[in-house]
Chain length 415, copies 2
Amino acid sequence: MKRAEIITIGDEILIGQIVDTNSAWMASQLNAINVKVEQITSISDTPDHLVSALNDARKRADVVLITGGLGPTKDDRTKKVLCEYFDSKMVLHQATLDHIVDFFRMRNMPVIGQLNHDQAMVPDNCQVLFNPQGTAPGMWFEQNETIFVSMPGVPYEMKDIMSLHVLPRLAKINGAGAIYHKTVLTIGIPESKLAEKLDEWEDALPENIHLAYLPNPGQIRLRFSAFGQSEADLAEQVNQQIEKLMLIIPDAIFGYNDDTLAGVVGKLLLLKQKTLATAESCTGGFVAHSITSEPGSSRWFKGSIVAYANEAKVNILGVDQQLIDDYGAVSEQVVCQMALGARNALDAEYAVATSGIAGPDGGTDEKPVGMVWVAVATPEGVFAQKFSFTRNRERNIIRASQMALDMLRLELLKK
Amino acid sequence: MKRAEIITIGDEILIGQIVDTNSAWMASQLNAINVKVEQITSISDTPDHLVSALNDARKRADVVLITGGLGPTKDDRTKKVLCEYFDSKMVLHQATLDHIVDFFRMRNMPVIGQLNHDQAMVPDNCQVLFNPQGTAPGMWFEQNETIFVSMPGVPYEMKDIMSLHVLPRLAKINGAGAIYHKTVLTIGIPESKLAEKLDEWEDALPENIHLAYLPNPGQIRLRFSAFGQSEADLAEQVNQQIEKLMLIIPDAIFGYNDDTLAGVVGKLLLLKQKTLATAESCTGGFVAHSITSEPGSSRWFKGSIVAYANEAKVNILGVDQQLIDDYGAVSEQVVCQMALGARNALDAEYAVATSGIAGPDGGTDEKPVGMVWVAVATPEGVFAQKFSFTRNRERNIIRASQMALDMLRLELLKK
C-alpha cells in the first residue's frame, strides 16, 4: 500500500486564522483508495521550510501532496520554490493561458491582468493538471520514485483537481493490501459511559479490527478500521461486530459513515410520506439549516418559524400569552404550544420546537444558561423533554438541535 | 521570541474523519502572546511516530504542545508513551481523582469506573494542569530547556487548560520582540480583482509589514502582520495603511479581525434602534442561524420565516399565489413580497428575503442551479438583486446568506 503525506503551506494556518479543512478532505479521499496518510504537516510560506518539509516527507512517503501558495496574489512563492527544487525552469503553458482567458470571458470580467498571466507559467518538467474551477493549475512531479503534487489551496479548486486527476492516477498506481473503514454514529450516551457499556464487547474484537471513539458535540462516532487482504471479507467481519453492537446500544445508533441525523429523519419521513415543520427559539434557525443542508429536503420539510421574539411566538405560532406570563418562554407549556403551532401554521404532520437559554448571558438560578426544552408534535399529540447543556452558546445551539431531531427520530421509529 | 510546535495525535485526523480545529485555535492563541508557531503536525496514535515527532519538534521549537490521546477509551496510548519518553513512572494524582469523583457526582452519573480511575494516574515528573470541564488532566514537562505540554483532544477541555494554565505561563516566559496582526474583512470583490485594485498600494507597503490574502466563500480577508519592537508603534503603522486601503475599496470593507457580518449588521441596527426579520427559502434558516449565533441578537432580531414550501410563502408571508404562478418562486416579484411579508408578520422595520436554486438539482435553463434572488425591505420600500453562484449547495447557501446581510449592511450605512 502506498504511503502519503500532506503538506499545507501558509501562515494563515500557523497563526490560526483558518482551519485546515483541505487536509481532512484529502485524507478521507486517499483513505478511500487505500493510500495511507502517515503525516499531515502545516508549514509557513517560506522557501527554506518548504524545502525541508519536502525532504522529510519523501523519506517516509511515496506520494507527497502539497496545497496552498498558488493563488494570483503576492504572498505566493510556492511555484518558484518547486521549480528550483526540481531543477526546472518556468515555461508558458498555452492551454492554461487559454483557459484563464476563457475563465474571465465567461464571467464577463475585464481583460486578464499580469497576475493571472503569471499563473500560466509552470516548471517545464511537471505534468500540468487542469483546474476547471480556477486559474492556478495543479502540477505533478516525479523524482526518484516519489510523486509530488502541488495544488492551489482554494478548497473547491483543490477538490476538483484531486477528483479529476490525482485520485484516479493514484488508485491505478496503488497495489495490494486492503483496509476497510466503517463508522457507526451514536447519539445520547457520553463517551466514558459508552466505553463502560462496550468494554466487554470491545475486548473481544478480533486483532485485525481497531476501534476509535471520535467525539463530536452530543455525538460519539465509533470508527472501525479492519486490515487484511480482501475488502469484502473485512466488510463482512466488521458488519458482524456491528450486529453485536446493536444489541448493546440499540437506540443510540442513528446511522453510518456520512449519514446525518437530519438525513436519517428525512428518510423515515419519506417512508411514512409525512412532513415536518419546526418552531425554533434558542436554536435560532439551526434545526432548519441542518435539515435544509440535505439535498431534496423540500420533499419532506415545510419550513420553520424562528420565533425569537415572544410576540412571534404568540402571533405566528399561536402560543397563549398567558402561558408565557405564567411559566416563561422557556417552559414545557410554551415549547409544546410552539410545536403544535408550527405543525398547524406550516401544515405538517410532525413538528419539533426548541426554547432555552443559549447563553452566554440571560440565565437565572431557576433557569440557568444551557437549560433547553424540546418538544415533538405528532399526529397524535405532543410531548417535551428538558435538557441541561453547557455555558457555551455555540455548543448549546448544536446540541439542542440534535436532540430535537433525535427525539423525532426515536418517535418515528416507534411505529 | 519563543517558537512553538503543535502535534495532534489520532488516526481520525489522518483518515479525514475530523478536521483539526484544535490546532487553529491553539495557533491563534499562541500568536496573540507572541509565540510563533513554526509547524503543526498530525500523526497517528502509534508510539514510534509520537516519539519521532517529539524528537523532530524539539530540534526546532522551545515549546511543544501535544493534543489528543488522553480520553478514557482504549484507543489512547499517549500518556504511557510520554511517561516512558520522560523516564518517569505513573503515580496516582489524588486531586485529579477527587475531581473526577466530584465531576460524576455533580452530573448525577453512576459510580466511577476503572477507565476514569486510570485517568487520575500521571507520570511522576510532570506538573498536573487541572481540567475543570473533563476528567483527563493536562501535563506539563520540562526537559533540557524544552517545554512539553500534553492535553486532551476534546476541544473545550483543551481550551480551558490552555486558557487557565498554558497561555499565562508561556506569556510570562516569553521575552522581547513584538508582532502585530490585524485582519481587514472584505466582501463582494473576487481575489484576483482585489489584487489588481490593490497592486500599487501593496507595492508601497513598508518592508516590515506583510500582507496575506485569505479567501473564504464570498469573502477575502486581508491579514497584516507587522514585525518590530513596540506593539503600539506597529498598530499605528498598520492603521495608517488601512486608512489608505479604505479609500480604494470603501464599500467592500465590513469589519476587522473576528467581526462577523451579522455582528456588524446588528451593531448598525442597535445604533438606529431598529429591528430585523428574515424570510428564507433557499438559505433554509442559515441567515437566521448566522444572526442568532451572535450573543445578544435578541435585542435586534425578531425572527425568521423559513418558507420552504410555497404554501408557507402564501399563508404566512402573504405572497400572492398569482405571482408564484406567473413568475415562479425564484423571482424578483416573489422575493420582494417575501421580504415585505416577513417585515409585516414579525413586526420589524427591516427584513431580508432569499429565494433561489441551491442545488445540486432543481435547475432549469432559465433558472440554473446557483441563481438566487435576495430582497431587502426597509421602512421606505423594498429592492432586490439577482446573483449567480455555483453548483455547490453548501456554498450557495452560505454566499446567498452573506449577500443578504451585506445588502442590508450597505443600505443601513446609506443614511
